[in-house]
Amino acid sequence: MNIPGDLATIWAFIIAFAVFAYVVMDGFDLGLGLLFPLFRDKRDRDLMMNSVAPVWDGNETWLVLGGGGLFAAFPLAYAVLMPALYTPIVAMLLGLVFRGVAFEFRWRSPHERSLWDLAFAGGSFVAALAQGIALGAILQGVKVDGRLYGGGWWDWLTPFSILTGCSVVAGYGLLGAAWLVMKTEGDLRERAYAMTWRFLVATLLAIVLVSAATPFLEVAYWRRWFAWPNILATAPVPIAVAIVAALIVRSLAARDDRRPFFLTLVLFALSYAGLGISIYPYVVPQSITIWQAAAPANSQQFMLVGVAIMIPIILIYTGFAYWVFRGKVNAESGYH
């Protein structure tokens, strides 16, 4: 592999990492939005929002880094994928607008609070569903015409993309519920436990269905997963998913407050790795590889300097702050 090729691989991992950081971090606060309608009491909702209000903005910055990184490092892929995903992306952005301002506005207007609660829940649902649909649309492949998107503007809508959309909603719901179990006490936690069970079942069902459907989308996916000797490398992924699922069930049964959330993160990581196994080395599946889409080496190098310096700093303070913020929230004082 030559040097620019290596750079493209490095950038593929950087962007994959940024997107994963976004998915799990915004995943649990979008998940709380999804759970909002299930908690009617104002006090509960205040607590739920308090538990993520300090972090959502930072979480969302990873989305800008993921999208911006794709634009900068793989401009051709960005140029092809974005028009292909036009409607889901627009829907996601509008959902995030509502969700984002709700954090600020909800506290400023007691009279319109219920409206901003609706905006929070609705925006979170639309954003989660749209992200899942976009994922499915990428997996099933988009039509490429020269250096441009060559399909129609409804191509993204298929039974498979609806399935992935619902799967992401289920997964975010699980993350949100497990987060609540970890961060709350008393009655709120009890109800969060019950929801974690339900969303776990939904998420596992979704993983099975998406995993079963994916190999039938493309022969290449089938070969990647099942052809000998690939299966030796790929088989551990579903096995690990099964083990982690069992561990989540056990930790929930043991009423452990923290383990279900962290195990859910592992579950997400495994599913994400599964997606990576299916797609790599394509960035637009079966059409454009990361090397074809890569920006010229000097662009990728120029940015790599910034990433190499800044990402570790960002990770250190993010990690440390999450550590300081650990523990339960209560109504009296944001954190204690």
């Binding site: 999208g67 051709l76 509502f98 301002v101 506005f105 010229p296 993010t318 913020f325």
Partner: protein, 473 residues
């Protein structure tokens, strides 16, 4: 089915609409972040309570404006891909890294320190808190640095090469970042942000002075804002002039459109003050002119010849009426700003700065003027760049996504509806905060509010981990 041209018009309308909404918030938060840093510095130096009162007063407004800037900014970062995929493919390798550096340096800096700034004064000590305020201000300026570098490169591209795939690539990052129009554009924009904020602060001060002219808070903010108007408005006019000369050197067609010069002048071109430009007939009807003034301004010689749009191929003309009028709106507001600045100086010398109701009404009326000027200036420079996305190199039609008009039309409609709901609400909340006068012991964000920040910081976490955050007096 609409034609391809309509899809481009709709995509441009969508970009213009989302951008117009977005630019309002950075223009305000760049100025406000620096103003907050100045207020806190003055408080630390003088120990006068009024400065920290004003700091907390404007901090609450900053939080709402910043939040809206974040969400509208996320939309902007995806606009390039969804509506301008041709541009993304061709220019991603050049524009993308500049925007990536904006995220890595500016956004994460703001994210790192906003939490401390919003909630930390009672928790982290004055020194660290002031440092946080300073870092947020620096973050907003860094953000302006990178995004204006990207925008300036699209206006005056330099330091690039074109590869076999027809993509622009960097030949020299230094030349590319510090492209010919960048310094002028950066200075002009940052000053515009400062003036915009000064006129908002001045209007809020004037509003409260009109009801109660003895309170400390309104007096101080009004006085500070009027100093800014008196000192910075003339500097901005000078900077604008220099920026105009730079534009004449690099984007002559834009200046021709701004001036309404359809025809070349062999010497002593008049300055058209007002008139009705007609694109199709290439004339300016009912023109009110000052003889030789345009040559004087642009060439600093009243008898210098000036080239007109007749020297430019017609398919490369920007749409003159829009550029012509938006430029006049910007300049007119600039002159009104100067007038208010001078009027305030006169009142200050006569000792009637806090008594002159006419001055206060003038300042109140000028409150939103900065936003209008920023928008008009932005329209002048962006519409003046047409029909190119990258000046002289990439036509707007080649930059667009291969999308059908109905797709863009429906998303445009969705953006319009959502933005009006969301940002109207935000503006109402900001106006409500402004309607209340600053009072002694002004708290930060209220205690029942969550510890919102743009990100996570250890210091913010420490700040929030205590009890009784931001007790309101």
């Amino acid at each position: 089915m609409l034609s391809g041209l309509d899809a481009i018009v709709l995509a441009r309308a969508q970009f213009a609409f989302t951008m117009s909404f977005h630019i309002i918030f950075p223009a305000f938060s760049i100025g406000l972040a620096s103003y907050l840093a100045v207020l806190e510095a003055l408080w630390l130096i003088t120990g006068r309570e009024v400065f920290i009162t004003l700091f907390h007063y404007w901090l609450k407004i900053f939080a709402v404006a910043f939040g809206m800037g974040v969400v509208s900014g996320i939309v902007m970062s995806y606009q390039f891909g969804i509506n301008w995929s041709g541009f993304s493919d061709k220019a991603g390798a050049v524009i993308g890294p500049l925007m990536a550096y904006e995220v890595l340096t500016a956004f994460f800096l703001e994210a790192g320190f906003l939490g401390v700034m919003l909630f930390g004064l009672k928790r982290v000590g004055k020194g660290l808190h002031f440092f946080a305020t300073l870092m947020v201000a620096v973050g907003t300026l860094l953000s302006a640095f990178w995004i204006l570098s990207a925008n300036s490169w699209m206006q005056t591209p330099a330091g690039y090469a074109v590869n076999a795939e027809g993509q622009f690539i960097a030949a020299d990052w230094w030349t590319l970042i510090f492209n010919p129009s960048f310094p002028y554009r950066l200075v002009h924009m940052v000053l515009a942000a400062y003036l915009t904020t000064a006129f908002v602060v001045g209007a809020v001060g004037a509003f409260h002075l009109l009801r109660d002219s003895v309170s400390d808070g309104p007096r101080v903010m009004f006085s500070m804002a009027m100093w800014m108007a008196a000192l910075v408005a003339p500097v901005q006019i000078l900077a604008g002039d220099q920026h105009g000369l730079n534009t004449l050197a690099h984007q002559p067609a834009k200046v021709m459109a701004m001036e309404g010069h359809f025809h070349s002048s062999s010497g002593g071109a008049p300055l058209i003050l007002f008139g009705l430009p007609s694109q199709s007939r290439a004339t300016v009807d009912y023109a009110v002119e000052i003889p030789k003034a345009s040559s004087l301004i642009l060439k600093h010689d009243p008898n210098a010849p000036l080239a007109g749009l007749d020297t430019v191929p017609r398919e490369n003309w920007p749409y003159v009426p829009v550029v012509f009028w938006s430029f006049r709106i910007m300049v007119g507001i600039g002159l009104l700003m100067l007038a208010l600045g001078l009027a305030s100086l006169y009142a200050r010398l006569r000792g009637s700065l806090f008594q002159s109701r006419r001055l206060h009404w003038f300042a109140l009326a000028m409150g939103p003027s900065g936003f209008v000027a920023v928008l008009a200036g932005w329209v002048t420079t962006e519409v003046g760049r047409q029909p190119f996305t990258i000046y002289g190199l990439l036509r707007t039609a080649e930059a667009a996504s291969p999308l059908a008009a109905p797709a863009i039309a429906s998303s445009l409609l969705a953006f319009v509806v959502v933005y009006f709901i969301v940002f109207a609400a935000g503006v109402i909340y900001i106006l409500r905060l402004m309607a209340a006068p600053p009072h002694r012991g002004e708290g930060g964000p209220e205690s029942h509010m969550p510890g919102r920040s743009a990100g996570l910081t250890p210091a913010a976490a420490v700040a929030l981990s205590g009890t009784g955050v931001g007790r309101r007096a």
